[in-house]
């Protein structure tokens, strides 16, 4: 995959928005990769957690907003617990999700679930999924 980086992208308001919503300093990351090494979801991810931070530093907005990874993360907080720089990676991923959700771009389509599934799922699953994946 070819990725173009530019001053224009680095200065995109997207970077500041991610920092603001997550409350994290993206530039604190020194790419040790510990977050990705411990992440139980990496097998399903297209951009790994340490790469998400790098992409966010560089303002690679389109790549991040279109990535599968931001929806695969279940906020299990393993990355946060292990980051030697104290960055809350799960919060950064949440911030990227929020940027889409606040434009009403929902990830979960409740109407696509069968009645059988909806009946079977406990409320804790339905409500948490809606909280994370819908606006």
């Amino acid at each position: 995959m070819r990725i173009n980086i530019s001053q224009r992208k680095i200065k995109d308001p997207f970077v500041a928005k991610v920092q603001e919503l997550s409350g994290q300093n993206l530039l604190a990351c020194y790419q040790c990769g510990k977050c990705s090494a411990g992440c139980p979801a990496v097998s399903q991810m297209d951009i790994l957690p340490n790469q998400i931070i790098r992409y966010a530093q560089l303002g690679l907005k389109d790549e991040l907003l279109q990535s599968k990874s931001i929806w695969i993360c279940a906020s299990c907080m393993t990355c946060n617990a292990r980051c030697p720089k104290g960055i809350n990676i799960a919060e950064v991923i949440e911030a990227i999700r929020q940027i889409l959700l606040r434009k009403r771009e929902d990830y979960l389509k409740i109407e696509e679930l069968s009645d059988e599934e909806k009946t079977k799922l406990p409320p804790i699953a339905m409500v948490s999924s809606m909280r994370k994946f819908t606006s």
Partner: protein
């Protein structure tokens, strides 16, 4: 001892086996439980976005209810409620401006919240106040020769400031099971995420996680896996159906709430164990061990 209890949504239906076994155990230990009046949703997940105050209203409103019950602490069973209530509480304690805004939003409440409620998990009550050695003395049926792997998942231990035990290697459940006479099995997946709410629209992930978590426990000789979260319970127990479809060599293993084993050890009647809500039937292994 009397304790205020916050149940949460799932404890009242799919996880009745969690609630009823815990309440029977508390009764056996001599703890009086009073359910929090007019409780509402805990918020389910703690809002991670810095500006998202509206989603802290639900947990904080519950803490107002606790104060209205003339107490300053509340016990949960569900790991998710524990985490969300405790994190929201810590958040407003550290940020008076947010607390003011949330209180203003709830202007029709009779009292303001002041950050002075303590959120306690049932396991903390057992470990720190009742103490495991005193529970041992109340055991009428030792869980002898039962090999139990204890699964913590995420919410009891992370983040570190909220967790009730070591963030990487918690042992509270193992210590409880040992106090009940069971053989506690250690396994490396005990704090690995089960996939949580991905169970709604991404079953592939859940089947993969369930497979890795449970086969890891089985490779260490586990006969039963305990859980403390209704969402973990659903994924590790009910989703074994999908796990077998994806991994035909997978062998089913019963998943029990730790309170179900506690209730057995304390001599609670079988009706309070509500095995009808467990997907993989635990009765054969429990009968084999002479426990039911």
């Amino acid at each position: 001892m009397k304790i205020c209890y916050y149940p949460g949504c799932t404890l009242k239906n799919n996880a009745k086996n969690f609630e009823e076994s815990a309440l029977c155990s508390l009764n056996s230990i001599g703890v009086e439980v009073e359910e929090l009046p007019r409780w509402n949703c805990c918020g389910t997940v703690f809002s991670l976005a810095t500006d998202d105050l509206i989603h802290h209203v639900a947990p904080i409103r519950n803490l107002i209810r606790v104060k209205e019950s003339n107490t300053d602490r509340v016990m949960t069973l569900c790991a998710m409620c524990y985490n969300t209530l405790k994190r929201a509480n810590e958040r407003v304690k550290a940020d008076s401006e947010s607390l003011d805004k949330i209180n203003q939003f709830m202007y029709r409440e009779e009292i303001d919240y002041e950050g002075d409620v303590k959120i306690l998990h049932f396991l903390e009550l057992l470990r720190d106040e009742i103490k495991f050695e005193n529970i041992s003395k109340k055991v009428t049926k030792l869980l002898k020769n039962l090999k139990v792997a204890n699964y913590y998942g995420c919410l009891l231990v992370r983040p570190k400031e909220i967790g009730l035990d070591d963030v990487e290697n918690p042992t509270i459940l193992e210590n409880l099971m040992t106090a009940l006479g069971a053989d506690s099995i250690d396994f490396p997946y005990k704090t690995e995420c089960c996939g949580a709410y991905q169970t709604v629209n991404n079953l592939e992930i859940i089947a993969e996680r369930t497979y890795h978590i449970l086969t890891s426990a089985q490779s260490q000789g586990a006969e039963i896996v305990t859980v403390s979260c209704p969402l973990c319970a659903f994924n590790l127990d009910h989703r074994q159906k999908e796990t077998v479809q994806k991994y035909p060599e997978f062998k089913n293993i019963p998943i029990l709430y730790f309170t179900q084993l506690l209730a057995i050890a304390l001599g609670c009647p079988e009706e309070s164990l509500r095995f009808d809500l467990n997907y993989i039937d635990p009765k054969p292994i429990l009968k084999e061990k002479g426990l039911i």
